[in-house]
Every structure is written in C-alpha cells, then in structure tokens.
C-alpha cells in the first residue's frame, strides 16, 4: 500500500479535526491510540526494518516514562523544560538507555538477541519495585501537568494536540530515516549482516544505531503516556506491555510504514471499546495474532494490498464475490468463536461455579441480552452452526481464489506460448 502525499495530508487533517468530532471520553482513547501507534512504529523500526526481534520493548517505554515524570517534578513545567518539550526528556533517556542495552544485545543476532532483550526488560521489571527512590515502589510516582506557552494543558483537547504533534514529528523522523543512507544500510542489516561487514560497514554500530533510535522513539511514547496520565508506576515494565507492542505491530503488518501504527490504533480502540463487554479481549488479540502469523504474514495492511493487487489484475467484478465470501467467513467464524469463549468464560467463572454448586440443575447464563441453558443442546447448536457455515464460506472462498489465480497463470502461459514458438 503506497502512501501518497495527498493521502498523508488528508490523514493529518483528519487527525487534527478529531477533537471537534469526538466526545471527550473517546478523545482520551484517541490519545492512547496515538501513543500505541508511535510505540508500534518505534518497535517496527527495529523488528521490521532492521530485522531484530525484540521481546522487551517495555523497558525503553518505561525508562522514557520515568525520566519524564522526574523531569516534570523537578522543573514544574517552568524554565528550560516547559510541558510541551517534556518528551525530549523521554527521548534522551530512551536514547541513552537504548545505546547501552543495544550495545549488549546486538553483540548477538537472531534468537539470542531476542532472549537478551527479554532479559533486559525482566531485569528492570525485577529491580524497579526495589528502588523506591527512582521508581516509586508499588504506588509509583504521580505529578501534575503545568501550564506553559500560554496553554493550560488542563483539557484533554490540548493534550491530544501535544501528543499528535510529537507523534507526527516522530513519524516524519522515521520516514526520513528510511530515505537516508543509514536507513538503507539498516535494511541491508536485516538482509545480510555478514555481507555488510565484508563491504566494510560497521554492522554492530549500525545495529546499535537502529536499536537506539527505536528506543528513543519508544521513550517519546512513554513520555507522552506520562504527560497524558500524570502518573506512572513500575507496571510499565511488565511483560504484557512488551507483548502488546509485538502483537499490535505484527497484526498491522511490519512490512509497511504505517502498518504497525494502524494495527496499534485499531487494537487499542477495540480494547477500549470492548473492555466493558468482555474479559477475554487479550485472548481474542492472541488468536488474531496467531491467525495473522499463520495465513497473513503481511498483516492486515498486507491483506489490503493483496486485495488491491487482485482487483488490479482481475477487475472489480471478479474479486467482489470472493471478497464478500471471505468477509462473510471471517464474520461467521469470529461470531462462533466469540460465542464459545464468552460462554466458557461465564460457565467457568467463580460466581457461576458457586451458584451451580448450590442449585439442583445448572442455572442459565446471560450473554448478548439472552439467557442460555448451558446443558441444552440448542445453546451449543448456535456456535456450531455459525462455525460450520463460516468454515464452508472460507473453503468456498479459498477454492474461488485458487481458480482465479490458476486462470491467470494459464492465461499468461497461453499469451507467452506464441512468443516461444
């Protein structure tokens, strides 16, 4: 998916107009989406562009966050560090820590690299609650946003624009990094680091630079989180934070520039939207991630570009039924899975189990505003039917896709045949 200049401008305009369009509650979610998007882009610089899988990016996010919270307390939003410039502190802290950690981690590549990043994050997670002076112990550190530059930063709207400005700036930096010789060499590092060494480039130094840049941008994301929440505790070093950014980035697709950002924004939005409705959101996210890994290595943006290519090659009319079938299959299968997961969640919950122990027969469970009998066959026929129809749709979509691509291949052969003879 190519992003053209008018498209990018349109996107920026839309983001800038968002506060006027959204209610205040959703605007808060929008800030979280922006932060998650920046974090995912920073992560993908390392794992996508430089080809080094990190499982401990929470460390750099957290270091940026804690550096910022200390700066906020020390400067009080006055003097050299007014509130809008606070993410600079996060950037510096992330960069500094990234250089040290990166120097260690990039000694090795591949699997060992991944394990070292995980160990560094776990090291911080284990040590942070012990150092009360730096990380504030269990309760963490809280602070206040101070007015600066004639802005109060009291409203969500102003925080949104601050976050938006920093996220756009960071994305621009990332975009231009890709165009510099250093960015090209980072790509080469992923493809063949040995060869890069033979050509006389410093592969280790390049690895550290990519690592440090990624850590710096993660630090900015952590910083924005603190500016928005006005508090932070050592839970930012949790393995769950590292896991979320991996999942978000790959679900969006690390191969494209905006894929991780879109994936992170989408996932954050959903987790916000469904947080009241389900307790199993993380499970759905994990299943989605594994599905993407199994069948869509390019992520969701890869799906869009594949569809666009199919439309370009076969015409809209040929692809439409296929797309509808696939969409139907996806919806039906998700509906069936959600039904089963939610039912299991309710049946195995502590409340229900103690209820069932007291009652003579199994009490009904309430989901989707309807009471279902767990022991009745009719209850389980619903998801079974959904899943079976979905599977049939998926199978048929697959057969159509195969027919479509086989057709072009034979066409191409026929077209090539006269040229050969």
């Amino acid at each position: 998916m190519r992003v053209t200049t008018p498209m990018a401008l349109l996107g920026v305009l839309l983001l800038a107009a968002l506060p006027a369009l959204l209610p205040a509650g959703l605007l808060n979610a929008a800030i979280q989406m922006l932060i998650a998007a920046l974090f995912a882009c920073a992560y993908s610089l390392l794992s996508g562009r430089a080809g080094m899988l990190s499982f401990g990016h929470a460390a750099y996010f957290g270091v940026g966050a804690f550096a910022t919270v200390h700066a906020m307390k020390a400067f009080g939003g006055a003097g050299l560090l007014p509130t809008p410039l606070l993410p600079l502190v996060g950037a510096l802290a992330g960069l500094g820590f990234g250089i040290v950690a990166g120097w260690f981690a990039t000694q090795r590549s591949g699997t060992t690299f991944a394990m070292i990043t995980l160990a560094i994050a776990e090291l911080l997670h284990a040590i942070a609650p012990q150092l009360k002076g730096w990380f504030g112990g269990e309760s963490g550190i809280s602070t206040m946003r101070m007015p600066a530059w004639g802005l109060s930063f009291g409203s969500t709207q102003q925080v949104y624009y601050l976050a938006l400005a920093w996220v756009l700036l960071s994305l621009a930096l990332l975009y231009f990094h890709a165009a510099t010789p250093m960015g090209r060499l980072t790509l080469a590092l992923r493809e063949n680091s040995h060869r890069l060494g033979f050509l006389g480039y410093d592969a280790h130094g390049l690895g550290v630079s990519a690592f440090a840049l990624s850590a710096m941008l993660s630090g900015i994301a952590g910083s924005l989180q603190v500016v928005s929440n006005e508090a932070v505790n050592y839970v930012v070093f949790d393995a769950g934070v590292s896991a979320a950014v991996v999942l978000n980035s790959y679900i969006g697709g690390v191969g494209t520039f905006l894929g991780p950002a879109l994936g992170a924004a989408l996932m954050t939005f959903f987790s916000y939207a469904v947080s009241d409705a389900t307790q199993s959101w993380l499970l759905y996210q994990g299943v989605l991630f594994v599905l993407v890994m199994m069948v869509l290595p390019g992520g969701l943006t890869g799906l869009v570009s594949t569809t666009a290519r199919l439309v370009g090659r076969h015409g809209f009319a040929a692809v439409l039924p296929l797309a509808l079938l696939a969409l139907g299959a996806a919806l039906l299968l998700s509906a069936g899975t959600v039904f089963v997961v939610e039912a299991v969640q309710r049946i195995f919950s502590q409340d229900y189990r103690s209820l069932a122990r007291m009652a003579a027969s199994l009490p009904p469970i309430t989901m989707f505003a309807h009471a279902w009998q767990p022991a009745a066959a009719s209850t389980w026929l619903v998801p079974a039917a959904l899943l079976a129809t979905g599977a049939a749709f998926a199978w048929s979509a697959r057969a159509r896709l195969a027919a479509l691509t086989r057709g072009t291949e034979s066409n191409a052969l026929e077209a090539a045949a006269p040229a050969i003879s």
């Binding site: 000694q107 012990q130 730096w134 499970l283 195995f348």
Partner: protein
C-alpha cells in the same frame, strides 16, 4: 552453616527443576533451530492438567496422564502450527510460538481464573526426609530432584547408547543428509518436540504441587529457562544442566545474604559515601536475588558469547 547447606540443597533442587524444563527447549533448539517460546507454557499446562485430573485418577495417575497429554499438545503444535510456517523462517516461528504462549496463558485464565489454584502436595508425600541441624527437609523436594536426575540419565542414555539417539543426534547436525539416508526426519522432529513438551509437562505436574500454580508461572519460569539455555549454550544438554544448577544455587544462596554493596564499600572505608548515594548501593543482595540470573546472563554474553558449553555462535 545449616542455613547454607539448606540453601544449597534448595538451590540444587530448583536447578534440577529448571533443567527439566530447559532440557526439552535446548534439544528442540538444537534440532530445529527454533527457540520455542511456548515451551514454558507446556510446563504450566502440565501443572493445570494434573490439578484438573487429580480428583479423577489420583495424584500419581494425574502426573502420568498430564505428561502424556502435554506431549500430545506438543505434537499438535509442531504439526499443526510450526511446520506450516517453517518456510517463512525462524523469526516467524519464534513469533508464532510467542503468540501461542500468549493464547495458552489466556486460556488458562479463562478456564481456571486469574489466581493461584489449590494444587498441593498429596498428604502421603508430605513428610520430612531428613533433618539438617534443627530444620526438617521435605521428602517432596528430594523426590523432585530424583525425578529430574532420572530424566537426565534417561535422555543421556537414549541419546548416546541407542540407534534412535544416533539418528536424533545426526539430525541435529545434518538433517538433509539424514533424510537422504532414508530416515524420516520430520517424524524425528515431531517426536523430539513431543518428548520435549512432555518433559516440561512432567516438570510442571510435579513442581506445580510444590510451588504455586498460577497463570503467571509460565512467564516466570520461562524467562529463567531462556536465561539457562543462553548461559549454558543453545543446543547443549550438558550446558543446560550446568547453567540450571549454577542459577539455582546462586539465587538460592543470594536470598539468604543480608549484605549490600555499601557493606562491601565499608571494607575500604567508603560506607558513608555509598550510603549517601543510596539506590542500588544500599539495596540488600537478598532483594536483588531475582535479578542475579539476568546479570549472570549479560556477563556470560560479554565474556563467552556462545554460552558456557555452546559450540555454535
């Protein structure tokens, strides 16, 4: 003195437990080049399966059955998931197992709740084996250590003294050549993956009863096990044993030490200075015990990047 003996004994037992989980991981890595992120999830599944089956078939039956079940899960993961993405490369496989470990943890929370379950040592095995000074040493710990040692002996003999072992070891170094000689390498891979998973499951079923069984246990032991295989050298069984024992004993001893860097500085008369700085320097070693394995790992990577017994870089 008694306390030190006690700590060393506990450390050895914990190290043997770490070895039980890391043995499968390092074998699988040696063969397939895949670091299985979900390996620690097999450990957790072992504990939860045994907990769930305990009421039906008794403790011993539950341990055996859950070992077999987890081995089955391992086979399914290899055949149904890993093999399908093999062509996308090792990074992709690592990510897939990461996703699977995430799903297993969430499924465990779904079925058993996000809190520790009441899985404990059966009454019949809950007595003291011997006494060190005034302290009683539980027989269950000895049993755990014994199972791990038996397992080590069994794997070692299987790998070095049998025909299957020769094929497996050959498949680690030259899979294509072994295939060309007419051995079913895919089946060997699946078998090793299943056995590795079963060993982790056995470790979980046995250790879950002694330590706590909760949805976080996979992550906790997983990180330790990754440290073990990196410190020991990826793919080396003996290295895994050495690193497991080292980490087990070091952490166990550190918990009992009540000194800090400031006390060390006192030897050169700099206690005041160190206490003035505070932070890391006044932190007691006992509260840093959890971080020692990571520090050890960074040290090993600096001094001997291929691990203590590793050959590959």
């Amino acid at each position: 003195m008694d306390a030190v003996v006690f700590a060393v004994l506990n450390g050895v037992i914990y190290g043997l437990l770490l070895f039980m989980v890391s043995a499968g991981l390092t074998l699988i890595f040696g063969m397939m080049g895949v670091l299985n992120f979900a390996h620690a999830s097999f450990y957790m599944l072992g504990a939860y399966f045994a907990y769930a089956l305990q009421g039906l078939v008794g403790f011993a039956g539950a341990v055996v059955l859950s070992t077999l079940l987890v081995g089955g899960v391992g086979v399914v993961v290899e055949r149904g998931f890993l093999r399908r993405v093999h062509r996308h490369g090792h990074a992709h496989e690592l990510l897939l197992t990461f996703g699977l470990s995430f799903i297993v943890a969430e499924l465990v929370k779904l079925f058993f709740g996000n809190y520790p379950v009441d899985y404990r040592v059966p009454k019949a095995l809950d007595f003291a084996a011997f006494a060190v000074g005034t302290q009683q040493y539980p027989v269950y710990r000895v049993l755990m250590g014994g199972i791990a040692l038996l397992m080590f002996a069994a794997i070692y003999l299987l790998l070095t003294r049998t025909r299957i072992g020769i094929v497996v070891r050959a498949a680690i170094y030259r899979p294509r050549m072994v295939e060309a000689l007419g051995h079913h390498v895919q089946l060997v891979f699946m078998g090793v993956f299943g056995i590795g998973a079963a060993l982790a499951g056995l470790a979980g079923a046995v250790a879950g009863a002694f330590y706590t069984t909760n949805p976080n246990m996979a992550l906790e032991i997983g990180v330790m096990v990754f440290v073990v295989v990196v410190v020991g050298g990826l793919g080396s069984l003996a290295g895994a044993m050495l690193a497991s024992l080292l980490i087990g004993i070091l952490t166990s001893l550190a918990v009992g030490v009540d000194a800090s860097i400031a006390d060390l500085a006192a030897l050169v008369g700099a206690r005041e200075w160190a206490q003035g700085i505070g932070g890391l320097l006044t932190l007691k070693l006992s509260s840093l015990a959890a971080t020692i394995p990571f520090a050890l790992m960074l040290l090993v990577l600096l001094l001997r990047p291929s691990g203590l017994m590793g050959e590959r870089t």
